[in-house]
Symmetry: C2
Subunit: 391 residues, 2 copies
């Protein structure tokens, strides 16, 4: 039976055009873009072409504001540690939110071990940060605010533009983790008014292990990787040129197809939300009803565990996730779900369903059909369910 992939956030497939560009790059056997001879020149041209495509995707003023990295996690680590360390003479206080990705949380935890102070701002029941809370939490010694653009577990999109106005006014650097937004929804770094923005290639069907960090010209940052003079002295090390070329092509396709993808994702999401009550009961849909990623639905199914659902759906060749793949293996309930007020048990019963360009409405119906049966079987085994069902 055909595999139904509703876990695109863990790994998007490479689009055929991206595959072809990467295969061509492999066969080209490019030289080193830093070399002074011809083989190096062709490589340098391919590198800068990719940089221009990626820069256009986020509307950079100049392409060299984009630094290529090994992915979203490196971008976030580079941004947070690099900005905090380069600006440590101005203060050591950093602001963030309660529902950030592990790469942000753990980078900040690391900075705390280096005597930085971190204040984490709560979110409302939809997972949104209130810009006034950011304004109120900024102190004289605050040097950096880091808030994600969209949440990878519940899809909620933050009021980044409003927060950027506050940070600009208060002269605090603003970093945005936009890993699950860039290439998925329109992102314009100039319109948003942010100072640094992290992103990755896979959310827009480029290869994993490749990403970028936008750093506005004039912002002071330490490299995370010290060494050679690559990337305008901001990130040393030989390039993953094959991956970068793939990301460049994926960026071009994301721009070309942004509107049609948004329309398609929106329809799939609507279909899923509309049909769901016909298949299961006693569930919540998490996240903001309006300010939300179009390709993500988070559902908490009461009385059962998300992990069990994932495994049973897998037996039927349906892939979904319980949370970000980076956190798989950890058995704790999601900090995101607890932050929006879910009970521990309900947080454990949460599924993250993410769509991609290859999905159809039939996939949604197939998923719901199998989910119905799965939920019934698991609830039959669940003491919580029987207890709740007692009069």
């Amino acid at each position: 039976m055909k595999m139904v992939n509703l876990d695109h956030i863990s790994a998007n497939p490479l689009l055929p055009e991206v595959q072809n560009a990467m295969i061509e790059a492999i066969r080209m056997n490019y030289g080193n873009p830093s070399s002074q001879h011809k083989a190096g020149e062709q490589a340098a041209e391919a590198l800068e072409r990719a940089r221009e495509s990626v820069a256009r995707l986020i509307n950079c003023a100049v392409p060299k504001e984009v630094v290529f990295t090994s992915g979203g996690t490196e971008s976030v680590n580079h941004a947070l540690k690099g900005l905090a360390l380069a600006n440590r003479d101005k203060g050591k206080h950093i602001l963030t939110s309660n529902i950030e990705h592990n790469s942000v949380i753990r980078s900040l935890r690391r900075l705390k071990m280096m005597n930085y102070q971190v204040t984490s701002i709560p979110v409302d029941e939809y997972g949104r940060v209130n810009p006034d809370h950011v304004a109120n939490a900024i102190r004289d010694e605050t040097i950096l605010v880091s808030i994600m653009h969209s949440n990878n577990e519940i899809g909620t999109i933050q009021p980044i533009e409003e927060i950027a106005q506050i940070t600009k006014e208060k002269k605090v650097i603003f970093h945005v983790d936009a890993v699950d937004s860039v290439g998925v929804v329109p992102i314009d770094v100039q319109k948003l008014g942010v100072d640094a923005l992290s992103f990755a290639s896979n959310p827009f069907y480029g290869p994993t292990g490749v990403g970028g960090l936008y750093i506005r010209h004039g912002i002071s940052i330490w490299p995370l990787l010290d060494g050679g003079v690559q990337e305008n002295n901001k990130r040393a090390g030989a390039w993953n040129l094959i991956g970068i070329i793939g990301m460049g092509v994926a960026a071009e396709l994301a721009m070309r197809d942004m509107d049609s993808r948004l329309a398609k994702m929106g329809k799939l999401r609507e279909k899923l939300l509309q049909e769901m009550p016909n298949y299961i009961d006693e569930y919540y849909v998490n996240g903001h009803p309006e300010y939300s990623l179009p390709n993500l639905v988070s559902v908490s199914v009461k009385y059962i565990e998300g992990e069990s659902i994932v495994l049973m759906l897998d037996d039927e060749d349906i892939a979904v996730s319980t949370r970000s793949a980076c956190a798989s293996g950890s058995l704790r309930a999601s900090h995101v779900l607890l932050s929006i007020g879910l009970e521990y048990a309900d947080a454990q019963g949460t599924l993250v369903i993410t769509f991609g360009v290859d999905n159809t409405e039939e996939d949604i119906i197939r998923f719901l059909t199998v989910l119905k049966d799965t939920v019934k079987r698991l609830r039959d085994l669940s003491p919580l369910y029987h207890k709740a069902a007692q009069p």
Copy 2:
């Protein structure tokens, strides 16, 4: 005319088997190795297969002592910063040598900005560190020694095993930058007795932008990339799986062909050194005559500039380098050459010739023929040469 590549150290071509494995990986459209469902399992298997191949290449006791990185520069940054920060309670003094790669020099410079002290040990005229100097320089507060295995500009190989005996005795952590050695000459981390060892995939014909860091079990180190629980909690972030699969296959081929490659490189090197006096005069060969990489020859041609030679050879489709590609763009004389006692002007006239499996003896003769003409033309224009030629 056929391109003659004598600049393999800047960018080795991918071997056909490596290309095929990467192309297959692209077409496989692997899932995320962290996911709980089937697509994730296949990816996790491919990842661990690659890890086993790479672990065998350096003779790790257990494969999970290998952490995959985005290349040699990340490995070195991770090792130096991660070991220094994790062990800062024991002391803040670090020992290194005068001829390290920029990734080591600049990582240590960064640590100095964080109140670490660094002592740099001089080398002899062949570029070798004397182990006694290491022993004498270790102080109570010394926590880390970092010495490269082989030098990327002159090829000299260091007495790593002897230094490891000293660090073991003195209970100091020993990191080795083996980026230009792993897969080129036999490397056995257990026999060497080192605690951490950095390497990259391209020197053994794997893709650029992929590398590894060996960390001996029990050694305390901070991640450079904080976030998810990947790589046994040592390196967060989604994997560059296509690149890692390429590195795994390249590692297998390097083990299979190590002896024949060493024999071939040795013959090419001998041919070049034997024939050179028949083509040019007034030059030095740098590096150690015995303890040296088999695939590298460093030649300082008196009275002219290496950069000019590179450009003129490029016009004839011959690629050589003046120094490590990472440092291209910098006009300063090489710190490595100055450290072994070269005059500034002679350091400027240095060529780094690096062989690969695709080279033939005809390539050597073609290079020398064009070099002879190039040197003559450049010396005719050189005031230094005319001055030296005067009685």
